[in-house]
């Protein structure tokens, strides 16, 4: 199938000369490189040097010339790579805000794909995709998952015994888990979290 398509595009007929750019595979590759670079820049907080119009136009041209699939899979690969990077550094949970910010910008640049290609080919919309990737790569990476849970339970226990804790941090983490969907919150946090106080209060009741 892809072979057929490629052939169709290499076949240029003068009468069907289109206004604007004619995209062949080489051009599509080049365009994707530009967009990939833009995604990296956004994650590195350098978006202020990018032109929204230019990148939107590039993404639009790719989708219009039936390279939507390439664009989408490229997006998934690039974003996964970044999240893998993030999951390696220590304070990954704090990067949540950054990821959200970047995700919104990427979604806006790729808006044409989101409105047209995504629904017609039954893909996951960009925003949801970003959340899913975060969940799979960060929250569900075994190391982070254990540490996150331990920290949360530890903090709550500390407060129960009268110590001061960073409530803002807890609130942000819980909010993040909620944003990722109720199932994430329930499975990753609520269930183990509800088991802990049982032990805590059992111990307390035996003291007195």
């Amino acid at each position: 199938m892809s072979h057929q398509k490629k052939r169709a595009f290499n076949f240029k007929i003068e009468t069907f000369k289109r206004y604007g750019v004619e995209l062949d595979l080489k051009y599509a590759k080049k365009t994707w490189k530009l967009l990939e670079h833009a995604i990296h820049e956004i994650y590195n907080h350098k978006a202020s040097g990018l032109s929204f119009e230019e990148h939107y136009r590039n993404a639009y041209n790719m989708v219009l010339h039936k390279y939507g699939e390439k664009l989408y899979s490229g997006l998934v690969a690039t974003m996964t790579w970044h999240l893998k990077e993030i999951s390696r550094c220590i304070e990954s949970a704090r990067k949540w805000g950054d990821h959200n910010m970047a995700l919104q910008m990427i979604r806006d640049i790729l808006m044409f794909m989101d409105r047209t290609f995504v629904p017609s080919s039954h893909k996951t919309p960009v925003n949801e995709l970003g959340l899913n990737l975060w969940r799979d790569n960060i929250i569900h990476s075994s190391e982070t998952q254990r540490r996150l849970l331990n920290t949360l339970i530890d903090c709550v226990n500390k407060e129960r015994t009268g110590e001061f804790i960073n409530r803002g941090l807890i609130r942000n983490i819980v909010k993040m888990l909620m944003d990722l969907g109720p199932s994430v919150y329930q499975q990753d946090f609520e269930k183990p979290f509800l088991e802990v106080p049982t032990n805590f209060f059992r111990a307390e009741s035996q003291h007195t």
Binding site: Q4, T15, L50, E53, Y56, R57, L64
Partner: protein, 556 residues
Amino acid sequence: MIQQRPWTIDPDLDVLNFEPDDIEPSIPLKKVPAGDLFEAARAGDVDRLSYLIESGANVNSRDRWDSVALYYACLAGHLDAARLLLQSGAICSEHTFDGDRCHYAALNLRVRKLLKAYEARPPPLGPLQGALRDTFLSCVPNRDSIAGHPLSNDESSSHYFPPDIVFFVQGRPIEAHRVILGARSPFFKKRFEEKWKDRQEVRFAREKLSYNALYSLIHFFYSDRLEVAVDDMEDLLEICKVCKCEALRKVLEKDIIHQKYAEYKALREVDNSQKRFILQGMSLPEQDRLPASLQCILQCSHLESSRRNSDVVIQKETWVSGDDLADVCIIVDQKLFRCHQVILASRSEYFRARLSRMADFLEGKDGLPGHSLPLLEEHDLSAETFEKMIEYMYTDGLTCIDPEQAEEIFDAASRYLLFPLKRAAADVLLPHLEMVSPAEICHWLIISDMYGVLKIREYCLDSIACNFETFANALEFRALLLVLPPLSGDSSLRTTLPSAPGAGGKTDQANLLDDLREKWLEAEAAELDKRDESAALFDKRAKIFSFSRSFVLTVR
């Protein structure tokens, strides 16, 4: 003694909830790939129906049995098809001829309930009015004032564009955008140019000014639909006098007199608090409606722009704010356009994202601090096309476009996610297509398939199918066949869908050649066995063409 109860319909039936299994039809819905509106409604083929509506079919037209499409959908009990028709503005009021028949024909209570739900609803707003109304209601304080508004939270937040003026009346806020108010009322325009020029909020201290009345007026400014409680009409009349909304004032004055007489005639005390007065923009003279008002503003902006364009080099001072209330400058093809953010943002999601992201990306920072406007640049677009496009954005109208220009307009409509513009441009282009050569029809078929302009695509396919022999001999048509993907060979359960992204179809299944085959069979109008024969004939011819395709490729 057994008491005889009169027989009534159980009122509980009305709210009966059906299990999902009951709703699903027991047999799969039939597909009518080439059917007209009525066949599609009767078969419940929602894909085909939405395709036809999208390509501009009139949902209220009657067939030779004097029936509307909605009648067939109700008769056959196709809820989804009926809902689609109703959403597209099919008339269903019991007091009309068509509506009465639909109610009478409704297969079951669910269909009836659906009809009832849509009966009280006013006709759908135009694209312009609808978009501006969504923007107005996306401001939280404005939405809160309508209890039980159907917009859910995320739905409305996606239309949000920050207001540039807030009014406080009787302590309650109304958020608004200057250009809309300025366009609709000379009073507001003058104030925004002078007294309120740099104000973010305006507080009205006068106790007499009614919040409800002002809210309905501002809502009317955005949506061209006035809805006001009868009790508030006197207050509204006062505001109209101040705001110099003459046309509206006249209508209101007349109606208030009517209301008074109605009270005289009524034997009992009339409770006006429940009664509401609803006015459609259509009943005002044309120059007082929303599109005309925005057209004035647009002309004003064009005048300002061209005055500044006449300077050979666009200098920084040229984009300071003028008296057209413009708040953004856009450069296309080295021409400057003064525009209004709220209108661009309401009409096009692209501009909404772009304007609200100006701080995050590279653009818009060239403007000097203080009185200068942000400056954006658009590429790959001619100034003429952009001018047509903003004319459409402001007025919903598209006049005198050159067929040469249509292609560029389709491109702009796609890129800026301004999908209704495609249909408007198609309507202008269509008469021109009646007298063009086969080569040009082929050209337009490719274009319309690419941009998903259904009406043109349908027309081209029809015209090729009806004159197949002429086209088969045309060089361009053969060349066209060479670039198209081959027949999929699968003709079961398929509807004609274009391959363009955003056309609402399933991209992976669309195939121009398949659709052409369908059209050809339709033109041949053969049934059953004959149809199979015709299909075989078409496939044979297509094979010959595809043979020549591989032939050409090997030669190359």
